[in-house]
């Protein structure tokens, strides 16, 4: 699975219902990578960071 570096976030779809279910962020450019899968929860600080980023950027669409 290819992950973008710019934009750094990529939306993910739930294969059962086909709805966007999370946003992923890859950290690092060589193995081992970290992939954060962030739930849409306003109390989650990773999601807060994503929302701040998304004010001026757009995440890559889900496959």
């Amino acid at each position: 699975m290819a992950y973008p570096t710019n934009p750094i976030y990529k939306l993910q779809k739930d294969p059962i219902y086909g709805k966007v279910c999370a946003v992923n962020k890859q950290i690092g450019d060589s193995e081992p990578y970290r992939i954060l899968s962030i739930p849409f929860d306003e109390a989650n600080t990773d999601y807060q960071e994503y929302l701040e980023w998304a004010k001026t950027n757009t995440a890559e669409a889900a496959d």
Binding site: P15, I16, K19, Y33, I35, P39, F40
Partner: protein, 381 residues
């Protein structure tokens, strides 16, 4: 045998009893060093689920000791869990400057921070007429002598109070700082961050050009946050700084450090960060689940404690890091797709993998296949 019959026990210089005895044979005591008084989690640096050593640190993050946030905007640092400690401790949080910056830019900073949920701070009665003082204590050892700034930052009301301490030798020393009560601005009673405890290790003029609020709380102004005499821990690659025994408690007395068992401390830390399984070798069991279709499998992970909020899935990935077993065969893959917002809760998560060839309807189980593979969950503040 004789009996001492009194109604109370009081210090000669006190205005109230330390122990009050009742006619029914019971007593109440005003004890300062009671259990569960330390608001700091992992203050003795015993728990380090992520790593015991991280090199090349140039940005903010949780590196080694759980709950201990290291902010770095200048220089490069190594952060390790050290066995160099004061008597009575087993671990300390060490940072070591490996690339120096002798001339800080205005916005540069290096700091240690713990973020605390508002619902764990209600007994400070902040924002009321019954507001209590904040007693902060910790042990520091460093070869970088000089002035350091400690800040309490009320996130809910954008208010700060600051104190300084001076390191004058390279031994372990305990420092105690009593911060004033604040009758303005209550802490929110929720699971979001309400208070930051910060030890400033370097700060540019953005933070040092004003006047410290050492005797009372005041509205947060960046220029007033740090002493203009604060050290710059990044100014030499010889600089080393150790910390342990961090404690924040209600009142005007900094009591002895409250030691908790490793198991108790780990459970407190897992509210913010936990793992499906420890990394370190092939075939560590990561979880069990079901093959929803011939190409999509789910595993169900239940967390060891209820987490602070719905957590982020944080997976360490690479070529052939994971393997799913079902119906008499297995398939190896690099990473999971994601968790699902609709189904994740602070108690458990479904982690999904698509694009594999499996048997629909079969049960499955997943194992790590690389020494670095690891599935973690983070709900940090």
């Amino acid at each position: 045998m004789s009996t001492l019959k009194v109604d109370g026990i009081r210090s000669n210089s006190a205005s109230s009893d330390a122990i009050t005895l009742a006619s029914d044979g019971t007593c109440t005591a005003n004890i300062t060093n009671r259990s569960n008084r330390n608001k700091i989690i992992n203050g003795a640096m015993t728990v380090h689920q992520r790593s015991s050593s991280v090199t090349g640190i140039t940005s903010n993050g949780y590196q080694t000791a759980d709950r201990m946030l290291l902010n770095v905007s200048t220089g490069t640092f190594t952060n390790t869990i050290s066995t160099d400690t004061p008597d009575g401790f087993g671990s300390s949080f060490k940072i070591d400057c490996t690339t120096a910056d002798t001339s800080l830019s205005a916005g540069d900073n290096v700091l240690f921070k713990q973020r605390i949920e508002g619902q764990n701070l209600q007994d400070f009665a902040k924002g009321t007429s019954a507001a209590k003082q904040f007693a902060v204590s910790f042990y520091v050892k460093t070869n970088k002598s000089g002035v350091y700034t400690v800040e309490l930052s009320d996130i809910d009301n954008s208010r700060i109070a600051t104190k300084t301490f001076t390191v004058s030798d390279s031994n372990w020393n305990r420092y105690t700082l009593i911060f004033p009560a604040d009758t303005t601005g209550a802490f929110d009673n929720d699971n979001a961050v309400s208070l930051d405890l910060i030890i400033w290790l370097a700060a540019g003029t953005t933070f040092t050009s004003g006047t410290l609020n050492t005797s009372s709380w005041a509205s947060k102004t960046n220029a007033n946050r740090v002493s203009s005499s604060n050290v710059n821990i990044a100014d030499s690659t010889s600089n080393e700084w150790y910390l342990t025994g961090v404690q924040l408690e209600v009142g005007s007395v900094a009591t002895d450090f409250e030691h908790r068992s490793y198991g108790d401390e780990l459970l407190k830390c897992q509210r913010y960060f936990c793992k499906a399984a420890e990394k370190g070798g092939s075939d560590h069991s990561a979880g069990m689940g079901t093959n929803y279709s011939s190409s999509v499998g789910y595993i169900h992970v239940r967390f060891p404690v209820t987490m602070r909020t719905n957590p982020t899935l944080d997976q360490i990935t690479g070529t052939s890091y994971y393997r799913i077993f079902s119906n008499g065969s297995y398939e190896t893959f690099d990473s999971f797709n994601s968790l699902d917002t609709a189904t994740v809760t602070p108690q458990c998560a479904e982690v999904l993998k698509s694009g594999i060839s499996i048997t629909q309807g079969s049960a499955n189980f997943v194992r790590y296949q690389h020494s670095e593979a690891e599935i973690r969950f983070s709900a940090e503040l």
